[in-house]
Amino acid sequence: MSIPGDVQTPWHFRRRYALLGIGLVGLAAAWVLDLSWRGLLPRGAGFSLWKRFFGAALQPALSYEGSLQISGATPFLVRVAQSLWATLQFALASMGIALVSGLVLGLLASHSFWRLTPGVRGQGIRLACMLGFRTLSAVLRSVHELLWAMVLLAAIGLGDTAALLALAIPFTGILAKIFSELLDEAPRGPSQALQALGCPTGRALVWARLPIAWPDMAAYAFYRFECAVRSSAILGFFGFQTIGYHLELSYSSLHYREVWTQLYALFVVVWVLERWSSKLRQRVIA
């Protein structure tokens, strides 16, 4: 006997089948790509390289490796510190730009800003505007920061501006998307109450929805800052003077101990940032 209202979900929408399906696709992919566990273990000549590289992890370099020492050159550790500082500077500056532009674009890409509610005049134009800004944010973030770096290198050449924009542009798009969603998810009651006392929509959004969404927005922005630090490091591969530049140089000179020193330094920086941001987050949320 069927109970009224007890509608069965079609089987292909059920969670267990969805999970099973994903698992099967994964296995099929491994088979098609001819993956095997043995491929993970190095053999032959690969093994000695493996040993050298991971052996270097136990004794990171404190000065330049190799017999060729240039007198008067910046000491190794100082240079590591300098390149880390440059990495952080790019990350900080581009995050600063992305935060402001992401906030503005996030507001413009949110439902609430355009008042997409029946009864408000001009729904068609409002929807078109919102979709326009959503598309803009999608375009900005659909291209990875490294690809933006390539494009900007070609367009404006190797310089601080190119590195800054390469990070700031896609991060603006990502932050705008998340910010607009968080703003739209915040409860409506308080902002409607402000509109009921004559406050225009934009100001009601900033006064009532932004503060409610703020802790989540801050948490996400901190996470994005970590991503910015990592990406900033990798930008060095393109010749920007971040730690990635020197990492790549050490790696291609087979100076694996230098490589590890710089990896450890990067790890420490990201870890410190993580601790600092979680402290800050606790203060923002509490």
Partner: protein, 253 residues
């Protein structure tokens, strides 16, 4: 001088559903009116028309001398900034301080710069003015408290403070004691009528409790299914009128 709030043969709908019809109501300065009726009778909708946030679909509504039908958005906003409205669930921003929630009362009366300044850097004068209001409402010690830690009654007082900070010409409240325990609801109603009286504001409040309404309001308006069933001085409301509102419609069309 005529009535401050005047509805004539008013009808209104929400999301396509008619919620009010054939309403004639006129409220003058210094009047204190309670709206009574079961859930879904149209009390909130009527308050929203009086607060110029729900526009009539037929008939006329003249609020503080402005006809709502055909009014421009800017005119409506200006009108709303002069109407204090206390919402049922107080509708405060939970993670702002009490100070900022009260300051938000004047958001309809300032530009972007003023709005941002009072959100981020409220001046000493603003703080003192809000403190004065809160002290009048008996919660002076909550000025810098985060709003979400307040009790239901305290939050409702903050919402009242926000409405008063508007320097309104009318005070409206939608079931202000719904989220307040019975012992405190009497105190809250007392406070509301008192602040309205000292400022000479007309006060319109929707309530579920007929006894409390009769105690605090000289005039009662009974609503049922979007229509006014009675509009009488408090003393004349008896069991007949209450039954007309709340009795289940058995065997009647």
């Amino acid at each position: 001088m005529g009535a401050l709030l005047e509805l004539r043969d008013l009808a209104a709908s929400q999301e396509g559903f008619p919620v009010l019809r054939g309403i004639d109501l006129s409220i003058g300065a210094h009047e204190r009116v309670a709206l009574l009726g079961p859930s879904g009778a149209g009390k909130t909708s009527l308050l929203r028309v009086l607060g110029a946030t729900l526009l009539p679909s037929a008939g006329s509504a003249s609020i503080l001398g402005t006809e709502l039908t055909g009014a421009r958005e800017a005119t409506l906003r200006g009108l709303r900034s002069r109407i204090g409205f206390v919402h049922q669930d107080h509708a405060l921003v939970p993670n702002l301080r009490v100070l900022q929630n009260v300051l938000a009362g004047r958001l309809g009366q300032q530009g972007w710069a003023g709005a941002l300044r009072s959100l981020l850097w409220p001046s000493r004068e603003q703080k003192l003015e809000v403190l004065g209001l809160l002290e009048e409402l008996g919660i002076g010690d909550k000025l810098f408290e985060r709003t979400e830690v307040l009790s239901g009654g305290e939050a409702q007082r903050v919402a009242l403070a926000r409405a008063l900070y508007q320097r309104p010409a009318v005070l409206l409240a939608d079931e202000p004691i719904a989220a307040v325990d019975p012992a405190r609801s009497r105190a809250l109603l007392e406070l509301m009528t008192q602040v309205a009286q000292t400022r000479g504001l007309p006060l319109v409040v929707s309530l579920h409790q007929a006894e409390l309404a009769q105690e605090f309001f000289p005039r009662l308006v009974g609503l049922r299914a979007g229509k006014v069933v009675f509009d009488l001085p408090s003393a004349q409301v008896g069991p007949d009128q209450r039954n007309a509102l709340y009795a289940l419609a058995v065997g009647t069309p």
